[in-house]
Symmetry: C2
Subunit: 306 residues, 2 copies
């Protein structure tokens, strides 16, 4: 996200209104306040305007979908695509449970998806480069036990092939029964450890005996667990909480982060301390105390003061 | 630069050593200290280690060079390349004075360059995409009165064609006579204003009657003025200083920044205030005061306290 923000208008704790920077693509004028306020979860100020970068609309798009016998094979294929440097616009992983959830939800009917670990690719560029990159991705996925490779020949097929990814969250939410919720959380690890953490985390999650799936922005080393559970059943709540905490601990053990994009909020304050340590958290607290001494901006999020 | 920094080890003013973040490509864990310390010119802490991103080495590279009748034509061609979204690895502009400086310096001899406004392009990607992008850039530059289009057929020619860009600073420095210095400074503006500011600034610079040239990372809206002058001659110093201040003021009037990549240092503290205003500068000062209350880290750079 932060890479797409040119500048922000922010109302500070004392009511002052500032603009973080001006409009050029590049500037080295003073501290990078833009990068500081983006992702600060409203704890340093209230964002009232954002100027975003525009990108050129590419000449051509396409989408490809490919299935794998195991989640590790899918993750290995994704790693090889990244390491080869094939330019892709998006690369997403969904496990066999998540694919089943989409089928059950019915949002993409009458199309039924193979209930297998699946990679979704988006391509963008010139006609020639999109064609070339599809061929390279097809060769790499085939080498990693991929099968059922499909790519979109027109806009209608693009929408159809991407629909499973697009409907994944809503399909999951639609399966909740009375009293049930979805626990959705994310971590990110260095790319080289992604297959390891997904494989182990998926096994532990499958053992819960609940509807639990994995979905990820795999090109960033970032993935999500989504678990349907009943919060009023203490035993269920406890085991889901333990499973999620184990995933976060595993990510930290692999030099990863406790959250790739969901942020800290109330829920991961302990994990943030484990991740960055007391001295780095101390610097964050000094900045918070300097800009919001009365602790009135979204208090209690990210950190506890003093 | 900041886009390539994964994390930093920083020694703070009180001797504490922190790491700004961990290794994943993506994280939303707490404040973005990484972005804050990069570009803070040593005023918040002393960087002792940096972890950088690695990029995949592309299959193919090439370089192209093309000349234009006026600097505005060159800037217009560059704008069209950006607006069309042709993926290029680098795009640099040099004016006719800068090309002459390279010829005079002799570092690329026996090759002699046309002493005309010139664009330099670097391409990287697959063989097919590099070929396609060279053709697109050739068509765009031709439409904008470009001529003498050359592109490199092998590594030796790549080095040769890029050599004028590579030797530009050293060629300039080699032309100094006894007592002379080079005043080198940069600004950046929104892309749509680049041709305007370069044209006007170049005219004012030419009127100085000194050796003065323009060179720019034009894809970022960022360019540099380099002026050879004698600091001991008060009249020369005064007129160069006025010319540079006018360029900075012009950039700010166009919603630009007083520095794209050279930073504030001692020299542009007044310009920073003009650029961001007292409230935004005030936030920078609050952060400085929180992390370095005794003002011992690179004091006097970027801002004056209190």
């Amino acid at each position: 996200m932060k890479d797409w923000v040119i500048n922000l208008t922010v109302v500070l704790a004392d009511g002052t209104v500032i603009k973080t920077r001006r409009r050029p693509r590049k500037s080295s004028a003073g501290y990078n306040l833009n990068g500081l306020f983006v992702g600060s979860e409203g704890t340093l100020g209230l964002v009232t305007e954002a100027t975003l970068k525009l990108a050129v609309v590419p000449e051509e798009f396409s989408v490809a979908v490919v299935t794998f016998p195991t989640i590790r094979d899918a993750a290995s294929a994704a790693a090889e695509v990244m390491q080869t440097g094939v330019p892709i616009a998006a690369m997403e992983i969904m496990d066999e449970v998540q694919m089943k959830v989409v089928n059950l939800g019915g949002a993409t009917a009458p199309r039924l998806w193979k209930e297998m670990p699946t990679l979704f690719f988006k391509f963008a560029g010139t006609k020639a480069s999109v064609k070339e990159n599809i061929a390279r991705v097809q060769a790499i996925t085939k080498n990693n036990k991929g099968s059922n490779f499909e790519f979109a020949k027109d806009l209608r097929e693009q929408k159809l092939l991407w629909s499973a990814r697009k409907e994944s969250l809503w399909s999951m939410l639609s399966l909740r029964k009375e009293g049930e919720e979805v626990w959705s959380t994310d971590v990110a690890v260095p790319f080289s450890r992604l297959a390891d953490i997904i494989e182990v985390s998926k096994k532990e999650m499958d053992d819960l005996g609940l509807f639990a799936s994995i979905l990820g922005h795999i090109g960033d080393g970032n993935f999500h667990e989504s678990i349907i559970y009943n919060r009023t059943k203490k035993e269920e709540l406890d085991k889901v909480e333990k499973c999620v905490k184990n995933m976060v601990k595993r990510a930290l053990d692999m030099e990863g982060t406790c959250t790739g994009e969901h942020s800290i909020g109330w829920g991961k304050k302990d994990s943030l301390l484990l991740e960055v340590g007391p001295d780095t958290l101390g610097v964050m607290k000094q900045i918070k105390a300097a800009l919001d001494p009365l602790w009135i901006m979204n208090p209690g999020k990210i950190m506890d003061l003093p």
